[in-house]
């Protein structure tokens, strides 16, 4: 149990950033006519965490973010859907970043699509209706499009953060 103060600071700051992103997202009226659709700003933070800190911290911060946000603003269904999407997307982005010549942009596009696909399947299972699956093609494309934008932003964030003293790993 030896967490350096610097590490603690980094994680606390990133978790706070992830929660704020979720809050901003909930306030943005962008939904493309699909209830509950989000542009994935929180994913921007998770991707940044993954590249600065690694898979473990990214998963930890994503799960904590979802638990805190859903406790504050959500309900049990939203919690299940968010967890399904968030965990699948985090692993998908981790795998994508391991592939040759894939940058944050490609990883984020895949993350967005996988997040939406996992949520759609989870929603279909929880509500036991197959009808919602019909949204899958449009959600895949929207997820990728939003993911590309967030990926570009995340790449910039990572470059800037890694230059600050707080993220200097010495």
């Amino acid at each position: 149990m030896k967490t350096s103060t610097k590490k603690l600071c980094r994680r606390a700051m990133l978790l706070a950033a992830a929660i704020i992103m979720g809050y901003i997202e909930a306030a943005l009226p962008i939904s493309f006519g699909i209830s509950g659709f989000k542009i994935g700003l929180a994913n921007l933070v998770i991707l940044t965490v993954m590249r600065c800190e690694g898979l473990g911290t990214a998963l930890l911060i994503n799960i904590l973010r979802i638990l805190l946000l859903q406790l504050l603003f959500g309900n049990i269904y939203a919690l299940c859907l968010s967890l399904a999407g968030g965990i699948c997307a985090t692993f998908a982005m981790y795998v994508a970043l391991k592939l040759p010549s894939v940058t944050a942009v490609g990883a984020s596009a895949l993350g967005g699509s996988v997040h939406n696909a996992a949520q759609t399947v989870a929603a279909a299972l929880i509500m036991s209706t197959a009808g919602i699956i019909k949204l899958l093609p449009i959600l895949l494309v929207l997820g990728a499009a939003c993911g590309i934008l967030c990926g570009i932003a995340a790449a910039k964030c990572t470059d800037l953060l890694l230059r600050t003293p707080l993220f200097d790993k010495k």
Binding site: T103, G106, I133, K134, L136, L140, V141, A144, A155
Partner: protein, 107 residues
């Protein structure tokens, strides 16, 4: 900022979306329309399993919707041609019960 791998991933996602769109909207119909004596009797989604009992002045039929297919059972007509039409799944598939002036068509 973009590298080759990014384009491969984005292309793969779009391909998946197009293929899933074809599978979801392509050959399989989404609903079955019942027409009784030339007038629309009802429209039922193929996504939800249910039994529809149709009473006509000439007799009764039951339309069963199960696992994305619709078919007639329990027709009290003499020839039972509508039951022999089998399972309706694709757009344009139809079963006709002439004695009852009843038509089921997938749209």
């Amino acid at each position: 900022m973009f590298k080759k791998g990014d384009f491969v991933i984005i292309f793969a996602i779009i391909a998946t979306a197009v293929i899933s769109a074809f599978l979801l909207y392509g050959s399989g119909g989404s609903a079955v329309v019942l027409t009784l004596d030339g007038e629309e009797y009802g429209k039922y989604s193929l996504l939800y399993d249910r039994n529809v009992k149709i009473e006509t002045e000439n007799g009764s039929n039951t339309l069963v919707i199960k696992d994305g297919a619709a078919f007639f059972t329990d027709s009290d007509c003499p020839d039972k041609l509508c039951e022999k039409s089998g399972k309706l799944t694709k757009k344009g598939d139809a079963a006709v019960c002439l004695p009852h002036k009843l038509v089921a068509e997938v749209v």
